[in-house]
Symmetry: C2
Subunit: 339 residues, 2 copies
DNA sequence: CTGAAAGCGCTTACAG
DNA sequence: CTGAAAGCGCTTACAG
């Protein structure tokens, strides 16, 4: 009998099953070289005892922890949290746990810090959120450290096994086409910050739609923001004070769209009568501002789940997915132009 | 010489310092029984080698991991993320890492799930966010499992070493007094959901302020919500359609306040001219709706940091703090009543 | 297909 | 104040 007051160990299982520890270890690790009989026998004992391998011991022996890491530079609280939920969906009822690691992408010691972190924690793998997912040096660091990684991004930044991507460019193109189909001609763009791949993808989607319909995009119809609310307010202010006021604005994220709402309000412009606005992200603020914002939503939670599966169960079918289409969420901030 | 291509272990340190492993272990663990000479000598070797104790090995030997857990039932994405940042502030440059564990407080297997989680991961300690921080059975489970815990809450739910609390009741009382001082008399309350301690605290603060000024709170001046946006919209709709319309509303959180904004808008009520609104949380939506919402903000990040310190460095001064005052953030959703 | 021995890198009584 | 031995619960070559 195993000592009854303690959680059972591999030794208890081995003794009761009449095999060696090594054999038990083989069934835990699903080794192929095992007779069906032995496997069944051991599995029965495992079930009877309620044995669960100790992750700390495995970590020490394997020099690898059963921890998934989430590396991010807080693009947006809702996004980070939804990814966390997705990862949890994937690791539920496994021995894996999720470790979070916010970082500062402007820190000069970013890579060193992460290297130390990976070295110390010996993570099984990491998920990297945008915008730091666009940092190729970081991906290489993971490779070098023998740490699995999957990047979340707005485009195919890496091989299929290392990326889970939305189709920002395509969706923005579609969203802008929707405005054009409603009759809008003077459509302005609030871009995201330089150096963000998502900002580039969304801008290119915007420009492609305009070009496809032969619509000009003069410099005064473009303004750059930082993805923050205030920058959206400023950018929209400039756009709306131009001599030829746009009848619609595409803002590269919801926060900036919310800022654009304020700019419109300050000028007594009614949304959508005087000005249509489309955002991107489908964050909670989109539904909570007035009028509710039409926006592009991407399946953040599903992407988090798929990314985690790529790391822990690369064989499974769900882990093969790498493309996750966004979709247009129609609410009430868009209408046909006046007149 | 230690093998130069590997990270140094305790053996390398012991050999170079000319002491036993045990002695090195003593300086790592800051044992008191050590001669100054020995300690200095060992510390020098540690510094020279850049030695860092392997957390996996320590975890196995100590039967305790160097992981802090964050248990939450997503009260609000921003809050969860700010707490995470606070915890990171506390564990930066330590061997600790942060593991997150979203749970479903309505799950019938909640406690069992958490028990298995604690058993498996052998966490050093957990931080528990509201509302599940109000679950006494959960706190007891932690105690029983030998897992440290600290609760975040809106009131003193536990001993000083196990709680980090804001002063919701007091602050709401102050916020309502502010409305009264401006001349409001008919002030309505949108309560949070039953069973939430924060909802109770905020309600009591509201009622105390009204009572202190001899103002009645008829049933039609109170409505209950769920802390979600939609419930705020519904609750405010009822309040605003009452025969004696209130001139001000205190909503027990910002999301419901945002819902109240929509209700006002639907009735062509101008904020703050026709209706003043105060929320609670100072979440991002507060600054992004129009007009910007006056609200009560609490120091979430600081509380997260303090809670983590209580777990990992209970001796330190910063770890002694347990009361964290909220404050009124004045923006533009409040004004004197008309006429 | 299975096992005995050694090892992962620490800490814990127990001596002295 | 310091050390030798055993142990935490697994896995890894190496045999057979």
């Amino acid at each position: 009998m195993p000592k009854s007051n303690k959680t059972p160990t591999i030794n208890d299982v081995a003794r009761l099953a009449g095999v060696s520890k090594k054999t038990v270890s083989r069934v835990i690790n699903r080794s192929a070289l095992l007779s069906e009989d032995t496997r069944t026998k051991v599995e029965e004992v495992i079930a009877k005892l309620g044995y669960v391998p100790n992750p700390q011991a495995r970590a020490l022996a394997l020099r690898r922890n059963f921890l998934l890491g989430l590396l991010h530079d807080n693009p947006n609280a809702q996004t980070v949290l939804k990814v966390q939920e997705g990862v949890l969906d994937a690791i539920r009822d496994t021995e894996f746990a999720l470790v979070v690691r916010p970082v500062d992408r402007h820190s000069p010691t970013l890579l060193e810090d992460i290297r130390r972190f990976l070295e110390l924690q010996r993570l099984y793998g990491v998920l990297i959120l945008p915008p730091i997912s666009e940092n190729d040096a970081l991906a290489e660091l993971c490779l070098e450290m023998g740490c699995g990684y999957v990047r979340l991004g707005s485009a195919m930044l890496d091989d299929e096994e290392h990326i889970v991507a939305s189709n920002d460019r395509e969706m923005v193109q579609e969203a802008v086409k929707y405005l054009i189909d409603l009759g809008h001609r003077r459509i302005a763009l609030i871009e995201g910050p330089e150096g963000f791949r998502s900002a580039l993808e969304r801008r290119e989607g915007f420009l492609a739609a305009m070009e496809a319909h032969g619509l000009p995009v003069p410099p005064e119809a473009r303004a750059q923001g930082t993805y923050r609310f205030e920058s959206g307010l400023e950018a929209a202010s400039r756009l709306l004070d131009a001599p030829e006021r746009p009848t619609a604005i595409f803002a590269s994220n919801d926060e900036m769209a919310a800022g654009a709402f304020h700019a419109a309000r300050q000028r007594d412009l009614k949304i959508p009568e005087d000005l249509s606005i489309i955002g991107f992200d489908d964050s909670p603020v989109a539904a909570h501002i007035w009028p509710p914002l039409t926006t592009v939503g991407w399946p953040v939670r599903e992407m988090g789940r798929a990314a985690a599966l790529k790391l822990i169960a690369p064989g499974e079918e769900a882990a093969q997915a790498f493309r996750f289409p966004a979709r247009l969420v129609q609410r009430q901030s868009v209408g046909p132009p006046k007149g």
